[in-house]
Amino acid sequence: MSRLDVRKTYKLYIGGSFPRSESGHTYEVLDTEGRFLANAAKASRKDGRDAVGAARKAFGGWSARTPYNRGQILYRVAEMIEGRHDQFTSDVVSAEGLSTQQASKVVDAAVDRWVWYAGWADKLAQVTGNANQVAGPYFNLSSPEPTGVVVAVAPQDDSLLGLVSVLAPVIVSGNTAVVVTSYARPLPAVTLSEVLATSDVPGGVVNILTADAADVAPWLAGHLDVNGLDLTGVDDASLATDLEAEAAVNLKRVVRPSRPDWAAEPSLSRMTAFLETKTVWHPVGV
C-alpha cells in the first residue's frame, strides 16, 4: 500500500505567527483545471486589523535596522526561495497552469527579482537623496525614509513573480507590509510566508492575508494606522476607485492598479512610491 501524504494546513501569516482566520472561514482553492488543491484561510476584517497592528509594531525596529542589515536579510529570503525552488515551482504549476519548465523560470525570475531589490537597501539614499545647493550658508540634505505601514493587494494572476515584485520594493526601504494575496491563487504566497518566517525577517514586517480584496481591502484602505496602499492587484475598477477614495481619509500614498510585464526589469517607482523625502537644514559657521 502506497504511503498517504501529509497535507499542509494553509494559514495566514501575521506578526511572525501562522494563525487561522479568527473568523474560522476558509475557502476552496482550485488549480487551473478546477481540481481541489486546498482550503485556504479566508482573512476577515479583524485579521486585517491584527495584521496592521503587527506591521505597526514592527515598523520602528525594521526601519531602524541598518540598510546593510536589511539588505542581508532580504538576500537571505532569496536564498530560502531558491532552496524551496521545487516547492515554489509546483505551487506555480498548480496555481497558474504553467508547464514545470515555465513555472521553474518564473521561480528563477522571482529569486532574481528579490536579489535585485535586496541590493537596493543601501543604495536608495544615494540615488534618491541628495545634498541641495541652497543660496545661503546651510548644510541641506534630502534623504529618503520609509512611509510606514503599507497595504499591498498582490496581482491576481502572477501569483509568485507578481507578489514578490510588489512586496520586495515595499519592505526593502524599511516599510512594513500587509499583503492581500491573489484570491484564486494564494498558495505560492503561503509558501513565501514560510520562507519569510525562516529568513530572519522580524515578525510583523510582512503579514500575509489570503483573502478576497473586496472583503478586507476596504477596511484596510480606511485604516488610520496605514500609510500607504498599493492597489496593483485590484482588477475591479470600481473597487479600486472606492479604495483610493477611502484612502484619502488619512492621505495614504496610493499606487493605482496596473498590469505590468512582470518579467521586465523594474524601475525605482515601486520603491519611491512609499518613500518620504526628509530634508534637514543646519547653519554652517564657525
Partner: protein, 492 residues
Amino acid sequence: MAEFTDPPVVPPTGLDYAPAPESRSVVDLQPSYGLFIDGAFTEGSDGRTFKTVNPATEEVLAEVTEATEADVDLAVDAARRAFAGWSRMPGRERAKYLYRIARILAERSRELAVLESLDNGKPIRESRDVDIPLVSQWFFYYAGWADKLSYAGLGANPRPLGVAAQVIPWNFPLLMLSWKIAPALAAGNTVVLKPAETTPLTALLFAEICQQADLPPGVVNIVTGAGTTGQTLVSHPGVDKVAFTGSTDVGRQIARAVAGTNKRLTLELGGKAANIVFEDAPMDQAIEGIVSGIFFNQGHVCCAGSRLLVQENVYDEVMERLKRRMATLRVGDPLDKNTDIGAINSREQLERITELADAGDAEGAERWSPPCELPSSGFWYAPTVFTGVTQAHRIAREEIFGPVLSVLSFRTPDEAVAKANNTPYGLSAGVWTDKGSRILAIADRLRAGVVWANTFNKFDPASPFGGYKESGYGREGGRQGLAAYLQEGETA
C-alpha cells in the same frame, strides 16, 4: 528655578520708531481685473465679480472676476491647445522663457512686494526680502532644469504630464504661484492656476509678466474665484495633474475627487510643527528661531513652529527671554518697513484664530500677550503664547494658522520625540541643541518632511519641501519638485 534674574517683562519704552512707510505709488491698481486665458485678459462668462480688500484697512483694492465652469473650460482648453507646442519645444527654449520671467520678476520686485503686502497684509519687510526674491529665484532655478529633464531620476526620456490644475493659498500668494508654475513649465506642462480668493492680485500681475515675456498663449492661465472655482478646476476631466496647497480637509476632498482617474496628485497641506529646544540650545538663536518660527507671516505658515517643546530645566529661562523678545515685536501697518507682524489676512481667518485661542483659555491653558496697541480698522491679532498646554488641548492639536504659540515641556529626548510626533501632521519640525550627535538622532526620528536644526523657516528652490502623513504628499523644490510634473517615458 529662579536663578535666572533678568528684570521682568516690561513694555518697550524709548523704542518707538517713526513711521517708515513704503510708497504705494509703485503699484498701479486697476479698478477691476478679468481672467487670464489663452494669453489675454478676458471678462468672465457671466459677469460675476468679487472684491479683494486690504486686510490692514478693509479698503477695497479691486474687483476681481469669479470664474465659472464655462470659464474654467476655456482655460483648460487653452492649456490643452498650448500643451502640444510647449511640450515639444526644445527644453533650452522653454528655459529661456522661464529665465525671462525670473528676470522680469526681479525687475518689478518692489511693485510686486508692495502689491503683495497690500493684498495679503504681510509686512513689507517680508514680501520685499523673502517672498518676492524667492519667487524670482524659483523661476531661475527651474529654468535651468528645462533642458536637463533626463537627469530628474525618471529615466532617459521623461515626459510631462499634460495640463496641470493648480490651486494655491493666500499666505504666500506669489511664492506659492512660483512653486507651482515654475517646475510645471520647466517640465513641459501647461497650467491653469487659481489663486486664493482673498489674494488674487499678484497672480494677475504675474499674468501681465507672462505677456511681457512673450510666453506663448495658453501656457499659463489664471482663473480667479473662490472654493467652487477651485473645485471645478481640480475635478475638470481635461486636466492631467492636480497640485494643491491648502488645508488638510480640502486636500482630502481633492484626493477623493481624483480617485479612479488618471490624474496625478500632489498635496501640500497643514502642519502642527514641533520646535524642540534642548537645555544646551544656543539660546539667543533659539529665541529668535522660536519667534520667527511662529510669528513670521503672522503665523500664516503651514510649517510654522506652533508647538514649542522646551526641556524642563531651561523652561523658565526660555519663557522669560521669549516674552521679553515678544514685547519688542511691532504690530501694525504692513507697508511700514519697521513692522514685524502685519494684518491677519481676512475676517474669516481672524475669527478662526480667535475661536481656537479662546478654546485654549476654555481648556485651561494660560494666555500671555505683550502689551500692544492694535489698529482700529482691519484685521489684527496680537502675538500670543499659551503655557500650561497639554497634548490634549485643541491648541496643541489643531492648526491655528495665526500668531499663537502653544508651549509644552519635556524631560528626555525620547519624550520630546514622542510629543513631536504625536500629531497626524508631519510637515516640519525644529531642533535646537549644540550637540551634533543629538541633532542627527532627533532629526532621524522626527516624522516630518523638513527638519530645521538650529534654524527655522528657511526655504530655497533647491530644497525639497513637503510633508509626511496628513501633511500631504509629493515635494516642491529641488529635483523632487520637478519629478512631480514628469512621468517615466517609454524605454527604448
